[in-house]
């Protein structure tokens, strides 16, 4: 299995609070991604990174920011959590434009 770890695995937070999810890899892969999974929508790309300090927006980036200060870590921040951001978040890593390897997911509930 690819060395990819998400933390925390579960989190409950209140509306309006900032939340940061962490993705850590030990594979030295260049590309890292954050997706959210919601019923009926599949996996939707939030942000991705193609190198240290190089990031770009995905299809559902509003309300989210990311940072990648070193190869192994990719942080996703919900600047002010809303109930619509209740979801399961997956981090993925890839060495190129081919297959990606996913973490176990973080279940976030915003109350």
């Amino acid at each position: 299995d690819a060395g990819i770890t998400q933390s925390p695995r579960h989190k409950v937070t209140e509306t309006g609070t900032p939340v940061t999810l962490r993705c850590h890899q030990t594979e030295n892969h260049r590309y890292m991604y954050w997706y959210r999974q919601d019923p009926g929508h599949g996996l939707r790309l939030i942000h991705y990174s193609y190198g240290v300090k190089d990031t770009d927006k995905g299809e559902v980036s509003d309300g989210y920011s990311v940072s990648r200060s070193k190869t192994e870590d990719f942080l996703l921040t919900l600047e002010s959590a809303t109930s619509s951001q209740t979801s399961v978040y997956f981090c993925a890593i890839s060495g190129g434009w081919t297959e990606a390897f996913f973490g176990q997911g973080t279940r976030l509930t915003v109350v």
Binding site: Y33, G42, L43, D56, E59, G105
Partner: protein, 112 residues
């Protein structure tokens, strides 16, 4: 703007029969296509892929077919086994743009 579409939310087949999962895409820049399998409470796992220069790729019981003119791909599982029961996601990516897009998924149930 969903660029990858899986129009069948669910599929049920009998053990031993063929399962066919379908996927359509709209972006002609996509040149690499993948299928992922997901069990509950786990992350998706890579299953099989195909490059746009091919029309078929086979790996054991799994075969992916690509029809570029129709912007359509399909995953065939034969024979289907109860352990294949999972949600299957179709995904696509482009060489010059590394954001990988996914469909909504198809839940496959293989009945013993």
């Amino acid at each position: 703007d969903q660029q990858v579409k899986q129009n069948s939310p669910s599929l049920s087949v009998q053990e031993g029969r063929i399962s066919i999962l379908n996927c359509d895409y709209t972006n002609s820049m996509f040149d690499y296509f993948l299928w992922y399998k997901k069990y509950p409470a786990e992350g998706p796992t890579f299953l099989i892929s195909i490059s746009s220069i091919k029309d078929k790729n086979e790996d054991g019981r799994f075969t992916v077919f690509l029809n570029k003119s129709a912007k359509h791909l399909s995953l065939h599982i034969v024979p289907s086994q109860p352990g294949d029961s999972a949600v299957y996601f179709c995904a696509a990516s482009a060489r010059d743009n590394n954001d990988m897009r996914f469909g909504a998924g198809t839940r496959l149930t293989v009945k013993p």
